[in-house]
Amino acid sequence: MTPDPVIETHNLTKQYGRFKAVSNLDMRIGGGRITGFLGRNGAGKSTTIKMLLGISRPTSGTGTLLGRSIGDSSECRKSRERVAYVAEDKQTYGYMTVAQLIAFTRSFYTDWDIDSERRLLRQFALPLTRKVSALSKGMRTKLALLLALSRHSQLLILDEPSEGLDPVSIEELLQALVTAAADGTAVFFSSHQIAEVERVADHVCIIDHGRLVADTSLEEIRQDYRRITFGFATAAPPLQFSNPFVRSVQTDGRQVTVVAVRNSNDVIECGRGFGASTVESTPVSLREVFLSAVKEDIHDALV
């Protein structure tokens, strides 16, 4: 049985004038796992997250967050009780001290864990008496993370959480995400850092030009995605694959490189049928999947 999704959207669209920031987004994020939300700058990641939390209103389409409609203000408020969120810019009230901001935020949640708060305070070495406005960018990011990670929330949504952090803190953050997921919290985080996503995520959604262009598990990428290079004795013929799992075909002299997302054996057989003298099949990295998905989207948009 498929577990209830923590996030679900149907034809979710956000339009600013004639510009569609998010376009007919259909997405289903399952609970109990870490989902990486990838996309280029301006792809629509933050807009999608803001719509899920009721910070922005969808132009059209529907969605649910923890089973509650995102179109209904009251339902949205109730779902926010169980969601921890770190916004893209990590700005909090500069006029409060770290201690005041923690006390302020703690007062809104029943799932606050004082032990986690103390542990994270020690780990991040945040100065309690310092005003938030006097913190460095990295410290502000750590504070925003502390406010989100000090709770036993059902869903953790992080928008570019590692931005502004040093490598040690990024490591601590990734570990915290894994621990949160192990404790049963669903994690949904957007990032530009593909290596980070590849390290901790179970699942990835790739968005480009406001549209979902890939939705797959990391396990599937490791097992099924293959880059197949066909070598030909003479100039490579123009290969036409009818296989729907072929994602991209690139011809370079006597070589043709194909990315297949499933049934790679069928693709190999097909390539041999075209007269390929050598065949090399290698796993595909998430970076390649991302670039392939995004490039294809650019191509579609141009066509």
Binding site: S56, T92, Y93, F104, S107
Partner: protein
Amino acid sequence: MMLWYKAWRESRVRFILSVGVWVILCISLMSRARTGFPPPERPDLPFSAWVWANIYGNMNPTIFIILVMILGLGGLQRERSTGTAAFTLSLPVSRLRLLAVRAAMGLAQTLILAFAPALLIPTLSPLIAHQSYAETQALQFGVLFLAWGSVAYSIGFLWSNLFGGEFTGTALCVISPVVYRAFMASSGTFQNYPAFNYASFMSGLPFIQNPVRVMIDKPLPLESLLILGCLTATFLACAERLAHKQDF
């Protein structure tokens, strides 16, 4: 409770400055009265007329209106400019509650500002100026200041939901009361509705029979006060509707 704390922290500088302006005005008036009252050119001038001219009349209602309109600034649009709107809106609190707490805090501050002279003038008059001023007079002026002050606050509050920039909102709060006052002074449109002319209404002119003593001696118009209360509620409701629909 913490939302009240937030609303207080975000408005306290403006509020304390406004109270400071009012307190300095009242104390300086008393100090001047101690040595310079009655003025040599008007030895028969009643103390109530002196207080009226320096606190409740002339340009002081306009200064008060500007101060309370500035109190109405801030809020979610301002937070959008400073980058904290996403954090605030991710809290499990409705936008209605966020706005209601801020509005209630602002109206409470308006109330304190409106009645500050009612506390200071009757108390300080015998102590500093060796004069007396009736508490009932001060309270009646306080009611008039509160009625129009609430309207002005709610207009500032509405603007804060339209303009996030620090400069735009402040400029509007300074310019619009002056322009409105000039318009009301030159236009005969609302002559039959004195409640719409804030300068005249707050100065108590429609309720003063004796122009020498300049004391309110007619009953305060409950209907006008009610209308101003309704106007306040309407502007606040418009602000809430706007904020409800806005994206951050």
